[in-house]
Amino acid sequence: MNKTGYIAARLLQIVPTFILIGLVVFVLTRLLPGDPVSAMLGDRATDEAVNRLRAQMGFDRSIWTQFLLFLERAVTGDFGSSIAYRVPVTRLIAERLPVTLTLTGLATIFALLMAVPLALVAALNANRWPDYVIRVVFQVGLSSPIFYVGLVLLTVLAAWLRIFPVGGFGETMLDHLWHLFLPAITLALSFAAVIMRNLRASLMEVLEAEFVEFARAKGLPRQIVLMRHVLRNALITTVTLVGLHIGALLGGAVITESVFAVPGVGRLMVDSIFARDYPVIQALTLVLAVIVSVVFLVTDLIQMTLDPRVTR
């Protein structure tokens, strides 16, 4: 299969994923305790008003009709209006999503910047002191819960030293990066620890490979042996892990964004769940599912580029 065919096939795979997640989301939101209409109108609403709103939101139709309607709208990007904010869900998400994506992107970049060079140093000095130091530090990073590390960083760097803001997102691009720096570093620490461990192990495996010895026997410069032969082969397995972890980060945005008061979709999700804001919950879940699918697709494409054996 060639690359274009592969991409097309993978993009098509997103469609059943989308429908399935849509179904799950739809069913789950209906299973949540409490009735959204009475939640919206309050306890003292008249029956008449409640029924009117029910009809308006389509709650009086059969559950299947509701689901198909929901899917149909979702495909066209129409998720209806938020019950709590009374604005179109699409607009609400469009405002919040860039924050979450920037945060996730920053965290990924920070994590890779930490993990890749340090994994190389650790693997090249396997079982000597630089390796031990790096491994111990990352072990601590890995075993500390995100919210705890986050709170410590917030307290010290933001509240005491006032180097960084305590929350929010800021106005300009630079301001955004500034506001997201601490949360991104927090996320990056455990992310980097996971990648470092995996990459160190696969680097050590590749370093033993005969083709690396062959590359040395050819008299290639050290950095070419390291980058083209060792690192590239070692990254093949790590790339998958990076993709999976980005997916997990997006899912975990709920926690991070709450700790750091970041106005992203994670916070929006928490608020919407408490408010039983069904349209927002459904739309968010679907959007995140699609984004995660795309991340996995990109991961696979990078892996394909690194490893020609994958598709041939």
């Binding site: 005969e210 083709f211 010895e213 062959f214 026997a217 050819k218 020609p308 054996r309 041939r312």
Partner: protein
């Protein structure tokens, strides 16, 4: 295949390689001395674990981090064991090249053959991209890969075993080395392919005026391809000399036993008798001749001290106290 040559290009003097392992030191190679003349093919034989691969790697200083090499490796008058890393990178690939047993693992799976040839040319030759490509096509032609310009852009997994080994040879020869170190280049291949690859190597040695050290288990291969042979046992060279002379009348009890255990080939006149017992462990000091516990000719003196290599004929050396008895034996038979 003329063995009479002038000054050797490579002279190994008292080479030793020790590995430091968590369970103690392993003396994988001790006191190995050998020479290779220009255009000469030297066979290096011995049982598994006798130190053949370690010796080859030590010549190019390609040993693992836990290894310490001692002695001297004089390449065209220069001691490679003392040379700076930069100089070694010039020697590797350009002057001395190495090929391995298993091309599937020795070739980088994610780079095309073209890329793997090209990086060698970039490192050692001052050619532009076009000229490098032309040279790469030429190399695949040289090693007998059909439709070279197409196959060049294939990845190793797209080749058959024999073709892969040819590709590895092409990559190793990219910068026209004058010595090729071949570590069991045919062991992983089918018998018919083995023959083809050996013929190819011999042809290349003759055409390019290259010397070669051929490591192998197979005495038949040595008989067919090598000018001289070094027999290794437990990290030492126990016998060396011209192939025809050594095979006709071995002067070390181990060589003798090895020849008798040989399954096929022209030197297999006697019935097959595998050598009983195991080679010694290398992580303990060995007192006396390492082969003594398995030797049919053993004497008390063999266990007292390691027998030194002694001249046992024209260009022949053996480290065996039974050399005379073996010589007599062979003439009788």
């Amino acid at each position: 295949m003329s063995a009479r040559l002038t000054e050797p290009v490579l002279r190994v003097d008292n080479l030793g390689v020790r590995f430091d392992t968590p369970r103690g030191a392993v003396n994988a190679v001790s006191g190995v001395s050998l020479t290779v003349g220009a255009g000469e093919v030297l066979g290096l034989v011995g049982e598994s674990g006798s130190g053949k691969s370690v010796t080859l790697r030590a010549l190019m200083r390609l040993l693992r981090r836990n290894a310490t090499a001692s002695g001297r490796v004089i390449w065209r008058g220069e001691d490679l064991l003392a040379a700076p890393e930069r100089r070694l990178r010039e020697v590797r690939g350009r002057e001395i090249a190495m090929i391995f047993q298993e091309p599937m693992t020795a070739l980088n799976p994610v780079l095309t053959i073209a890329q793997q040839i090209d990086e060698s040319l970039v490192a050692h030759r001052n050619l532009d991209e076009r000229a490098r490509r032309a040279r790469a096509v030429e190399l695949l032609d040289l090693v007998g890969i059909p439709s070279a310009s197409v196959r060049l852009d294939n990845y190793p997994h797209e080749f058959s075993g024999g073709m892969r080994q040819r590709a590895m040879i092409a990559i190793a020869l990219a910068a026209e080395p004058s010595l090729l170190l071949a570590d069991e280049p045919t062991t992983a291949l089918d018998v018919t392919i083995q023959d083809q690859i050996l013929k190819l190597l011999l042809g290349l040695v003759a055409d390019l005026g290259m010397a070669m050290i051929l490591v192998t288990h197979d005495l038949g291969v040595v008989a067919e391809t090598c000018d001289r042979v070094c027999v290794m046992y437990a990290g030492r060279v126990v016998e060396s000399g011209p192939v025809s002379a050594v095979f006709a009348s071995p002067r070390h009890a181990y060589t003798h036993a090895l020849l008798r255990s040989m399954p096929s080939g022209e030197a297999a006149r006697q019935p097959l008798t595998p050598i009983q017992g195991q080679p010694p462990r290398l992580d303990r000091p060995i007192v006396g001749c390492a082969f003594a516990p398995r030797c049919a000719f053993v004497m008390d003196a063999c266990r007292a001290a390691t027998p030194p290599l002694m001249l046992v004929g024209e260009g022949r050396e053996a480290a065996c106290l039974a050399a005379d008895r073996l010589a007599a034996l062979e003439t009788v038979a």
